[in-house]
């Protein structure tokens, strides 16, 4: 949370996450190069390194793209989401090693500008079978660099969460470019059916996962309809909300998280100020609404992060009448106190 910036806000979970990533990378590279050298002794060390880091980066990108929808479908995947940015930066570094070695081996050893060699060495841009697939990888690497370079919370604050998220949606463009980069590369060099099968399978997995998660999400964005009493919209029954948890309804164009905190009800805008994480899927910990993505916290009655933190989200006035929750559809300014509605004694 933003009481001041640090390079990395380390904690035990992040250290464990990063050590797991590092161990996975070392294991994969070791196995790939070791097995590659044994099974294909004609391959040079440079070729093995280029292919090891290239395939690893693509594999990691599949994991990264799977984590979001998997966490939407099953909360047990949330811990993978927690530190996904470190996984993304690690993936970029692997892709960079692949790109740098490829540039050196294939484009930097002649007397032509390496970038000119990369972009214009094969001029067959009008052909599908002979398309210069290296250009696709170069553009994808540029996108991945932009994402890794803007992964710090400073960029979230200085671009705002919606702009930052839109920028990072470019990962899907990078993914498509990389699928084409690999597919055309395989077609032009090896025509290996196993590799083509893995690529098609991976692409199918990502598309299917996103479609399933998207269909599961869609009903939550439908505008909520209910009885209106004194301008307050009926949202749900108190009994629908478990203690320290929330019920999410779509009011005034966005989702509202209605929390039950012991004997009171409070409502806040559902989007966390950090990365627009779904606050209503989190719970109240130590008296504060806690985002399930990265643990950002807000007081239920004010929508403000506890001092010294400065994040604020809009609140909503609520009433409880005969065990039913009613929400004022007009949001309060971010951080403005809205009196919690008592559950007991409501009439």
């Amino acid at each position: 949370m933003s009481a001041g910036y640090q390079a990395v806000l380390w904690n035990r979970q992040k250290k464990r996450y990063d050590l797991t990533i590092l161990a996975g990378i070392l294991l994969y590279i070791g196995l790939f190069v070791g097995l590659g050298a044994a099974l294909r002794p004609e391959a040079t060390p440079e070729t093995l390194i280029i292919r090891a880091f290239g395939t690893l980066a693509l594999l990691m990108l599949h994991v990264i793209l799977s984590v979001g929808p998997l966490a939407r479908l099953d909360r047990r995947f949330l811990p993978l989401l927690y530190n996904r940015r470190h996984l993304g930066v690690s993936m970029f570094l692997c892709a960079l090693v692949h790109g740098a070695f490829s540039m050196i081996q294939f484009h930097a050893l002649g007397d032509v500008n390496p970038l000119v060699s990369l972009l214009a060495g094969n001029p067959q841009y009008a052909s599908i079978s002979a398309f210069p697939f290296q250009t696709l990888g170069f553009v994808a690497l540029g996108i991945l660099f932009l994402m890794a370079a803007t992964s710090h919370d400073f960029w979230l604050a200085n671009l705002s969460a919606p702009v930052w998220k839109a920028l990072h949606m470019l990962v899907y463009v990078a993914y498509l470019l990389l699928v084409l980069h690999v597919a055309l590369g395989i077609l032009q060099t090896e025509r290996n059916l196993v590799l083509i099968g893995l690529l098609v399978g991976g692409f199918g997995w990502i598309v299917t996962l996103h479609l399933v998660a998207g269909f599961r999400e869609k009903p939550g964005d439908a505008p909520h309809r209910g009885d209106v009493i004194d301008g307050y919209l009926h949202a749900c029954a108190v009994a629908d909300i478990k203690d320290k948890r929330a019920r999410i309804v779509c009011i005034s164009g966005e989702r509202v998280a209605i929390f039950r905190n012991g004997d009171t009800i409070s409502a806040v805008s559902n989007a966390c100020q950090h990365q627009n994480g779904p606050l209503g899927e989190g719970r109240i910990v130590d008296g504060c609404i806690t985002c399930p993505w990265h643990g950002y916290q807000y007081e239920p009655e004010t929508g403000a992060s506890p001092p010294p933190f400065t994040e604020k989200i809009p609140t909503f006035n609520v009433r409880v009448v005969s065990g039913e929750v009613y929400v004022d559809p007009e949001p309060n300014p971010a951080g403005q106190r809205a009196e919690p509605a008592p559950i007991r004694g409501s009439s």
Partner: protein, 84 residues
Amino acid sequence: MLEQIALWFSYALVLYAAIGLLFAVAFVLVGVNRVDPAAPGSKPGFRVMILPGVAALWPLMLLRWAGGKQPPVERSAHRRGSAG
């Protein structure tokens, strides 16, 4: 023709990156303290970490610094719908 385009692109990229790097050094040392109230007092590790992004997005950060602007406020439907 294609080679000429690629050559000019490579020059433009190098020029953009060189200006970006020079600007980024000045920005992480001085500018960031002016545009983000959470930055003053932050350690060198943070400044090194944002340097590549500043070099990449230097026109944006230059405008922010020159205009003396603070971090933008998110404009979601609920924030627009509230009075503040």
